[in-house]
Symmetry: C2
Subunit: 145 residues, 2 copies
């Protein structure tokens, strides 16, 4: 469904959101430990998010990553997925046909479009607030126990 890079991106952003709400800045090491991901690769992914202006980084000692309150409220899963994987997950044809469209549909265009649209809506409606809240309450996990 999503690439590894995108999975790490989402998990990292949720963790950063959680810590940012407490006023903390989170280092790469803490993130990689917290979401159980390869540090160097995670670093690349975070750089993508920073460049796309979805995430703030603080250089130098005691630096790290953080999210402003406005961003925690405003950033959706769709923003993150779009940044890392592009929009083919919720826009592309299920059979990989570039010519597939309403007028020129592949055989399961209609049934698939329904799923894609729901996925798109879900990604658009889910913000970092929603996700990080479940972490706070201990209702959910970001890595294996």
């Amino acid at each position: 469904m999503f690439s590894k890079a995108c999975e790490y991106a989402i998990r990292a952003m949720v963790l950063i959101a959680k810590e940012s709400k407490l006023g903390r800045t989170v280092s790469l090491t803490e993130i990689a430990t917290g979401i159980d991901s390869p540090p160097s690769f995670t670093s690349k992914v975070l750089q993508m998010l920073v460049k796309a202006n979805l995430l703030d980084s603080v250089k130098g000692a005691h630096g790290g990553f953080r999210l402003s309150p406005a961003r925690i409220v405003g950033i959706t899963l769709k923003d993150i997925v779009h940044c890392v994987d592009g929009d083919s997950v919720y826009l592309g044809c299920g059979l990989g046909l570039k010519q597939c469209s309403e007028k020129n549909p592949c055989p399961f265009h209609d049934s698939f479009k329904k799923i894609r649209d729901e996925l798109k809506i879900m990604l658009e409606e889910t913000t970092l607030v929603h996700l990080s809240e479940r972490l706070d309450s201990g209702q959910s996990i970001l890595k294996r126990a």
Copy 2:
């Protein structure tokens, strides 16, 4: 969403279903041309389907691939996807967490489960009959025009 291999598998099966209804056996060359895919790679994918007993092959001159009427009716998208990509598309965690479950959910387990379940149902309900009919009627395409 699906791998290239899986996309080719689905497109090929729809084409074979369409031709099999007319009593024809379809060669690899015809399939690759008909669905606009790399022949040798498509061959590998078809072999997977044959081994999984989802498809019949006829060796030797005038050989090729074909589907019995019973299979055209019985085989669903889920069968094909499961054979080629496994079941992670409609069963796995959206964040790639193996420990994710009802009792130990990742932050967007619930919203994602809804999508996955619908995808699963759609894949289970869609058979080759449905897909090949749309080809017959000229309502849909398997490659670029």
